[in-house]
Structure formats: structure tokens, C-alpha cells
């Protein structure tokens, strides 16, 4: 039971990170109809920005996270303009290839600029709370709470503001959105900016717990991809639920089965869920 509660906390921490990354991926999928495989690499850049802001420039943790958000928003918009905008009328396979290209480019760039070493973002919040035998580090608590905060903010933006609604409108019906006066270009840039900010947030939160290295994006994008397939491509609640389910399942798998199989768990869950419900849990209406 103790182990279970402990792993639940670990799973929620991991799940929070997955949620934030998967949300960005699903938002972009909604408007581009192609998963942006380079999204995980934006997460990686976010982690580096946070790392350098803290270690090189001595910014405090939260300012570093904020800076990562700003830098990533710009980078996300640039990616949309340079990589995907020119391909907006091209078939999906071209966008796929472009996304993979952007991914390889960013990873190579990170290796050139920052080397292949593993780094870790300094841990500021190192208190440990104990409830009975359950131990929660302050940083994990911050991850869980901050992720919820970011998700609520995102939800309010999408549901309560007309600009936010334009993202959902475009995902639900592109022609309809254009006809009411929504500028497809602006929405695409806005969506990339928001998704990138979420990735930066995830990276800054995860940074002090996990390691920072150039290929860290490749693993998380696989996970995020699994999550949005599980949750239903383009579905926001699906990404949140899928993120937590995967995080918790992995944490449980790691302790009850074997840490070696931790990353396999994701794909087992994927196969299982797609066998039961091939369209994903929250599939959008039949297109």
C-alpha cells in the first residue's frame, strides 16, 4: 500500500509532464492534422533555456521558466512559419517528413551548441514532505500543482475567450472558421506559440527531477504521441486523461514489474486501448 501511494505520486508527477507536452501536440494536431514530431524537441530546448538561465545567468527558477516560455513561444512561431507554413497545401506525408526534419535539426543543433552531456537543472525546492511513510519532494508537488494550474489557464483561454475559441473553431471546421473571419495563419502561429509555452513549462518543471540532454525530446514525443492516440487525436480532455493514465501506469509498471520495462508500458497500454476502442477514448466525431 505504501509503495502504491508512493508510486501514485511519482506517476502523477510524470503524468503532469506528459499532459503538458501531449496537450501541445494535440492542439497542433487539431489545426494541422499532422502530429508535429518536433514538439518533443521544443521541450528539450525549453529545458536547456531553463538550465542556462539558472546556471549561466543566475536567474531564479521561476524567471528562468518564464524566459523559457518566451523563448519557446518565439521558436514555436518560427517553426510554424519556416517549416509548416510553406507546406500548408501539401499532402500530410510532406508535413510528416518536415516535422521529422525539424526534429533532427533541433537535436543536432543542441549537440553542436551544448554538447551531448547530461545536465541537471539545480534543485531549489528540495524539502521533503512526509505523510506517514509517504515521501513527497517539494519539487514533485510543484510539478503536480503547476501543471494543474497551467491546464486550467489553458482551458479558460480556449473556452472563455473569443481568441482562444478561434483555435478550437479552426480545429473543428476550417472552412467554417475562415468564413466567420478567423485568420487561419494567425491561429496557426498562436497555436504553435501556446503549445511551445506548454512544452517549456513542462521542461522547466521536469528539469530538476529528470536530466537534460539533446535527445530527451525523442522519448517524450513518443510518449506524447501514444497519449494523443489513446486520448483521441486532437482531443484536449483525452490528452489530459491519457497523460495521467500513462504516467501512473508507467510508475506502477516500474515498481511492480521492472524499471527496465518502464518505457515499454506505454506501448502496451497503447495496444490494449486501441484493441478495445480503436478510435481512442475521446475520439472526435467521425471525420
Amino acid at each position: 500500500m505504501d509503495l502504491f501511494a508512493q508510486q501514485l505520486v511519482n506517476g502523477l508527477t510524470l503524468g503532469s509532464i506528459y499532459c503538458l507536452v501531449a496537450l501541445g501536440l494535440t492542439l497542433i494536431y487539431g489545426i494541422m492534422e499532422v502530429p508535429n514530431f518536433a514538439h518533443g524537441h521544443l521541450y528539450m530546448v525549453g529545458a536547456y533555456v531553463t538550465f542556462f538561465a539558472m546556471t549561466l545567468y543566475g536567474l531564479n527558477y521561476w524567471l528562468s521558466a518564464l524566459l523559457a516560455g518566451v523563448v519557446l513561444a518565439v521558436l514555436g512561431v518560427l517553426m510554424e512559419r519556416i517549416v509548416f507554413h510553406p507546406l500548408r497545401h501539401a499532402p500530410a506525408s510532406n508535413k510528416f517528413i518536415a516535422a521529422v526534419g525539424a526534429m533532427m535539426f533541433l537535436e543536432a543543433l543542441a549537440r553542436v551548441l551544448w554538447g551531448s552531456d547530461f545536465r541537471s537543472i539545480p534543485v531549489i525546492y528540495d524539502k521533503v514532505f512526509t505523510i506517514g511513510t509517504l515521501r513527497i519532494t517539494e519539487q514533485r508537488l510543484i510539478v503536480i500543482i503547476a501543471a494543474i494550474f497551467l491546464m486550467i489557464a489553458l482551458n479558460l483561454f480556449l473556452k472563455k475567450t473569443i481568441i482562444g475559441s478561434s483555435i478550437e473553431a479552426m480545429a473543428q471546421n476550417r472552412d467554417g472558421a475562415s468564413l466567420v473571419g478567423i485568420n487561419v495563419n494567425n491561429v496557426a502561429m498562436l497555436t504553435f506559440a501556446i503549445a511551445s509555452i506548454l512544452a517549456a513549462g513542462a521542461a522547466a518543471l521536469a528539469g530538476p527531477i529528470f536530466l537534460v540532454f539533446p535527445s530527451m525530446g525523442a522519448l517524450i514525443i513518443m510518449k506524447a504521441f501514444v497519449i494523443i492516440v489513446i486520448g483521441g487525436m486532437g482531443s484536449i480532455p483525452g490528452a489530459v486523461l491519457g497523460g495521467y493514465v500513462l504516467g501512473i501506469t508507467e510508475a506502477m509498471g516500474a515498481s511492480y514489474i521492472s524499471t527496465d520495462y518502464k518505457d515499454v508500458v506505454a506501448f502496451l497500454v497503447l495496444i490494449l486501448i486501441l484493441t478495445i476502442k480503436p478510435t481512442g477514448i475521446f475520439a472526435k466525431g467521425v471525420r
Partner: protein, 235 residues
């Protein structure tokens, strides 16, 4: 007023529209008749800026708007209720309507007035305001689509087969509503296959065949024309 001159649209080598000449004057309700595949929706999409014409010009109030993107065209006062409705199915009816006013969202008072107007035209929509648009019946969704198009307070309303798939009684109401919208001062271009009622409420009409305008005249004249009768009225 809208002036379409010499307009052609091509999809690859296929010429969907050729040398279309069409105009709509202030106060007019104009019907566009044509069988399946005649090119009605293509003409609408070109006017709204969803597709680019390969030749010709579209003028609106003396300004050339050819090639302008759709999100800009609606800001000039041309609004379209498209074929297939193109609603935001997972959003509430009210949100669909409010998004219809996206281009003039800063005019909060005006938006509220337009919403009032739409709810007066279609009281059922107010009742169903909080349901998702995708959950409504076909006829009600059609009302949402027309309502959404009206929310931009257009001077020119393009209606692409608004009566399709509706029960006869609802069709009749729909045409009465369209007439009322027109009488309130909005120019209307109405695409229809079912010419009977459309010719009764409209001032003038164009007949489109294989991407060309083959006839245009006053509606009474078209209604009395043997060919039109045979092809579009049935009898």
C-alpha cells in the same frame, strides 16, 4: 453591390466555372439555379475567397476583392452560409453564433443586437443555446448556419442550398425567413436546386449549367420559361 465579371475557376484541368457574369444590386434577392455539379458552390466559394479564381474579377461596392482571403471578405460585409453548414459541431449553439460575429467582436453592443435578431428569427435556437451544435437536427443545424452567417451583420448574404434535406414544412418557413432577411435590407444570393419556391421569393435568377450561366432573367420570367420548368420545377 456585387459584380462578378468573366469569372473562371479551374480545378487542375477541369473548368468548374467559365466566364461567369453576375450581379446583385442593393435590396435584391437573387436566386442561382443549377443541377448537381453545375458549379453553384464553386461560385460561392470563389466569392467568399475560399478558392482563387483562375480568371475574372469580383467587385464589391466598387472595390475589387478578387483573391482576397475568406477572413477578409467577411469583413467587407459578405457572409456565407455554406453547403454542408460547416458548423463547429462540438461547440454550443450560442458559441457558434458568437463566433459568427468574430470579425466584429469588438462591437459588443452590435453583437448582442445581432444575437437577439437571430434568436427572434429562430426562437428554437435560444432554447437549444447550450447544446452542442452537432447534437441538433439537420433543420436546426441549418438555422444555426444561417444564424451564424447573419451574426456578422452582412450586407450580402450567400446561402448555399439552405433548404437541402429539410422537411417540406420547414423548407417553407426557411424561405419565409430568407425573404424577411432580404426585406430588412440584406442582399441575398440563394443557390437552389428546388426552383419553385426560390423563384417565388426572389427578384431575379441565374441558371447555371456546366459552369456557365445559360440564362438570367426576372424571376417571374424564369418561372414561366418552359426549359426552366422542365429542368428545375418538375412539370
Amino acid at each position: 453591390m456585387l459584380k462578378v465579371k468573366n469569372l473562371s475557376v479551374a480545378f487542375g484541368s477541369y473548368r468548374a466555372l467559365q466566364d461567369i457574369e453576375l450581379e446583385i444590386n442593393p435590396g435584391e434577392l437573387v436566386v442561382l439555379l443549377g443541377a448537381n455539379g453545375a458549379g453553384k458552390s464553386t461560385l460561392f466559394r470563389a466569392i467568399s475567397g475560399l478558392i482563387r479564381p483562375s480568371a475574372g474579377t469580383i467587385e464589391y461596392n466598387g472595390k475589387t476583392i478578387t483573391g482576397q482571403p475568406a477572413h477578409q471578405v467577411v469583413r467587407y460585409g459578405i457572409s456565407q452560409c455554406p453547403e454542408g453548414r460547416q458548423l463547429f459541431p462540438m461547440m454550443s449553439v450560442e458559441k457558434n453564433l458568437l463566433l459568427g460575429a468574430y470579425a466584429r467582436r469588438k462591437d459588443r453592443e452590435g453583437v448582442r443586437r445581432s444575437l437577439r435578431l437571430v434568436y427572434d428569427l429562430f426562437p428554437i435556437l435560444q432554447e437549444k443555446g447550450h447544446l452542442s451544435a452537432g447534437s441538433l437536427s439537420g433543420g436546426q443545424q441549418q438555422m444555426v448556419a444561417i444564424g451564424r452567417a447573419l451574426m456578422s451583420a452582412p450586407q450580402l448574404l450567400l446561402l448555399d442550398e439552405p433548404s437541402i434535406g429539410l422537411a417540406p414544412l420547414v423548407v417553407k418557413q426557411m424561405f419565409e425567413t430568407i425573404q424577411r432577411i432580404n426585406e430588412a435590407g440584406t442582399m441575398v444570393l440563394l443557390a437552389e436546386q428546388n426552383a419553385n419556391m426560390a423563384l417565388k421569393i426572389s427578384h431575379r435568377g441565374y441558371v447555371l449549367e456546366n459552369g456557365r450561366v445559360v440564362m438570367h432573367d426576372k424571376s417571374e420570367a424564369l418561372a414561366g420559361n418552359e426549359e426552366v420548368k422542365k429542368a428545375y420545377i418538375g412539370g
